[in-house]
Structure formats: structure tokens, C-alpha cells
């Protein structure tokens, strides 16, 4: 537990620039408070996880940042500008993939560009590149129902990458993917955060997943929903993907988070 105390003091570093700021956001559904006066900063170029038990409003918060839901109070700033609707500065990856079942992989990947009015030849060239990047080369003409869950989410990821937004919003992207593919995905995600200069906001309910992939973990607690703490792992971020899970700090943080969340398990 000693190490984690160091971690918490380390996360107060004030010099990091925010790509996304959530300021005093509340969301009510009738009398139900889904989010209450929530504020959070998302540093540029890093991956921040929103972690918490189900019903803590993490997906609601992500959808508010994405402009898909309107907050009852408070505001969202992306790159210093207030936003209230979806915009080209953010791209969404969905838990259930949200692919067009009547369209093949290349049309699905280029669909974001299609909606932005990019000409067909150009958008398919871009899509082709990202299909290759996520490891789906050769599947351009396949339809979603011909692909496995993991491959479908790679299509969803390629679609979000191909619009080249600065902020990627990922809503439990690996929860409908089997365990082996999920691990591969997590490794690929680390690679992506390192190589693409983007800000990632990642919703998950898996503690190990959050600690494994995150530069910063925001723990959300329900009833009323709030940020209970923000953890910044410091020691193992630069290590190889194979060694993270054996790192003492990694294990400590996982334990610490579990200790604070266990009372919320049903």
C-alpha cells in the first residue's frame, strides 16, 4: 500500500495540458441523479480510464463528452472550446460495435468519412490504410456477420481512427470480445496510444484492464455518481507489454482499486 500513496501524490502534477475538461457536470433522469457535479481533466495524448461498478454513470459521462447526451448542468470543453454536440474532434467506439450490417468492411470503416463528405476514392484509400493498421487486410469485402466479435471491433476501431479525431471515446470496447482477443486488443491499444498522438477516454468495468492500459484511472462511484479518486500509475508505463502484469506497482494498484470497489459488488 505504500507505493500507491506515492502514486496518488504524483498525480497532482499541474503542468499537464488537458484535451478534454469536464466541469461540474450533472445529469438527471427525472428524479434519478445519474451524475452529480462531476469534474475531471483528461490530459492530452494520454489514455484515461473511467472505471467503476455498473450504474456509476461512466457510459453516461462518455456519451455526454461525445455530445450524444446533453448534461443537465455543467459543461464539456474539448481543446478549450465548449461543446454540446458531436463534432469531428471526437470519435466514438461502441460496445456492440455499431457496424452497418448491410455494408462491407471498407464501407463501414469509411462511413465516418462518407458522412463528412469525403470523396469515395479518397475515403476508401484512407480506410484501406486503417484496415491494414488494425490487422484486417484482406477482409475489405467481408460483411460484419462473416467476422468474429474481435474482428468486428477492429472494424469499429478502424472507423474511429480513420476520421482522425484528436479524442477517441471507447465505451467498453472489449467487453463483447473473448478473453484471448481482449488481451491482444489491450496490447494493441497501448501501441496505439504510444504511436497516435491522440487522447483516449476508455470506459471499462475491468480493474485489470483499466490498470493495464491507462495513464490515468478515474474511479467513479455510484449513488450519487462522483469521481472518488484519480490514480496515475507511474512506474510501469514504459515497460514492455509482456512485463506490465508482473510489475509490483501494477499489482498494488489493482489491489487498491479492488479494496475501494469491493463494497459496491453485489
Amino acid at each position: 500500500m505504500l507505493q500507491t500513496d506515492d502514486v496518488r501524490t504524483a498525480n497532482k502534477a499541474p503542468t499537464i495540458e488537458s484535451a478534454v475538461s469536464v466541469r461540474n457536470v450533472s445529469k438527471n433522469y427525472g428524479a434519478v441523479e445519474a451524475l452529480k457535479n462531476l469534474s475531471l481533466e483528461f490530459p492530452r495524448g494520454e489514455l484515461t480510464s473511467l472505471l467503476g461498478p455498473s450504474g456509476c454513470g461512466k457510459t453516461t459521462l462518455l456519451k455526454i463528452i461525445g455530445g450524444l447526451l446533453e448534461p443537465s448542468a455543467g459543461e464539456i470543453e474539448v481543446n478549450g472550446k465548449k461543446v454540446s454536440r458531436p463534432g469531428p474532434d471526437r470519435a466514438f467506439v461502441f460496445q456492440d460495435f455499431a457496424l452497418l450490417p448491410w455494408a462491407n468492411v471498407i464501407r463501414n470503416v469509411s462511413f465516418g468519412l462518407e458522412l463528412r463528405g469525403v470523396a469515395r476514392a479518397e475515403r476508401e484509400a484512407i480506410a484501406e490504410k486503417y484496415i491494414g493498421n488494425v490487422g484486417l487486410a484482406g477482409f475489405e469485402k467481408s460483411y460484419p456477420h462473416q467476422l468474429s466479435g474481435g474482428m468486428r471491433q477492429r472494424v469499429g476501431l478502424a472507423r474511429a481512427l480513420s476520421v482522425d479525431s484528436q479524442v477517441l471515446l471507447l465505451d467498453e470496447p472489449f467487453s463483447a470480445v473473448d478473453e484471448q482477443n481482449r488481451r491482444k486488443f489491450q496490447e494493441d491499444l497501448l501501441e496505439l496510444v504510444r504511436n497516435e498522438n491522440k487522447t483516449f477516454i476508455f470506459v471499462t468495468h475491468s480493474i485489470e484492464e483499466a490498470v493495464y492500459v491507462s495513464d490515468q484511472i478515474a474511479i467513479l462511484l455510484p449513488r450519487p455518481s462522483r469521481v472518488s479518486e484519480v490514480i496515475r500509475p507511474s512506474g510501469f508505463r514504459e515497460k514492455d507489454v509482456e512485463n506490465i502484469r508482473r510489475d509490483p506497482e501494477y499489482l498494488d494498484i489493482v489491489d487498491q482499486i479492488w479494496a475501494s470497489l469491493r463494497t459496491y459488488a453485489e
Binding site: 456519451k63 461525445g66 455530445g67 450524444l68 458531436p86 463534432g87 469531428p88 471526437r90 470519435a91 466514438f92 461502441f94 460496445q95 456492440d96 455499431a98 452497418l100 450490417p101 448491410w102 462511413f111 465516418g112 462518407e114 458522412l115 463528412r116 460483411y143 460484419p144 456477420h145 476520421v163
Partner: protein, 250 residues
Amino acid sequence: MTAFGYRLPAMSSLLIWALLWEIIGQLHLTFFVPPLSEVLVTLVRILPTPAFLNALAETAYGFLGGVSAAILIGIPVGIMMGKSRLLDELLLPWVNIFLSAPLTALVPVLMVLFGFGMTSIIITTTLFAIWIIILNARAGVMQINRSLIDMARSFGASPLEAFFKIYFWAALPEILGGVRIGVIRAVKGVIIGQLLISIVGFGALFELYSSNFLMGHFWAVLVVLFGLAFTISEFLAALERRVAYYAAKR
């Protein structure tokens, strides 16, 4: 289907019924049922006559006009109802009433409103076809996966783009099912219109043949009508099968 170990060709049940028809006809039990062979001979004989071709053209005109109107109005209205709760609350009772209403009873009212010509026939045909098309398009939209809509919005789709690129395609299997049933109902509509409003087209032929007890002719026209309706319906069913691969996976 197989029987006694043999694979039967498609539509072989029709052959059994055709045979039964022929036998009953040959027994001369009633003037109402002439043998099928006689009906078919009559059919071949009347097909090239100007009276028949004229009737076919008039019926096709009324039918295609009515079906086009039902599709062009019905699909957008159904999709809008599926999208908008308000519109749905407003229109659904009427759609349900007209779906089960005896539309034939409304035809005299249409005659008063729109006269005794083709307009009334087309409107009658539309009224027969449109309600099930609306209901099916609505049902198709209501089962759309929410996250597809979120996806379109998050990538900046305008409402019009969402309509043509998401809602229409997601609802297409149901829409085609509705159009297929609507088209079959439109066949009824156009003939009822031609019988009640102005005696033209196939309606006039039915009227003429049955009042002169020309049952061979009567059945021949009915066979042609059945053949046309069956062909269109099978064509639409084939289209439905083409989109069935994603109907189960939305």
C-alpha cells in the same frame, strides 16, 4: 419437399390442384367449373385480343399508380412514425382502423369526392395497399439498434443522411415484407375499384363474362390475374431473401 423418397419440384402442389380441377371440370358437375384445359385454351385465345390487352393496360395503369403512391407515401410515413413518438401517437390509431376497415364500403365516398374515373381507382388501390406498408416500415424502424443511431450522430450525420443511410436500410427487410403484402392487397383494390367505380379493365371483363355465364373466360382472366400477382409477390420475396442475411443480425 420430398415424398416417398423423391424430391418434388417447386410448386408441385399446384399440379395436384390443377389435376383435381380438370377432373371435376370433365365430370360436368356444374357450369361454374369448366375443365382447366378449356380455361387455358380460352386464355390463349383471348390473350391477343384488343379487348383483353386494353383491359390489361387499364388494370396495370391503376395498379402501378396505386402501388407507387402507397410505396412513396407509406414508407416515409412509416419510418417517421417509427422515429417520432409524437407522430406515432397521432397516426397509429388511424392506421390500425384503416388496416381492418372494410375499405370497399368507402369506395362510394371516394366516388363522390374524386369522380368516376381513374383517379378514384388509383386512390382505392392505394388505400388497400398503404396501411400494411406503413405498419411494417414503422416496425422495422422501431427495432433498430440504438447504437447505430448514436453512431451516425457521433460521426455527424444530418437527419436526412440518417434517414437514407441508416433508417431506410435497417428497416429494409420489414419494408419489403410490407410492400409484398401491400402489393397483394393492391390487386384486390384495383379490381374492386374497377368493379365499383367505373366498369373498366379486368373488372369490366369479370362483369361481362360472369353476367353472360362465360365461365371459361371468367376463369381465364382470374388465372392471368393470379399469375401476375404471384410473379410480383415472388419477385419481392426474392428481394427479401437478398437482405435476409442481415435481418437477423441487426
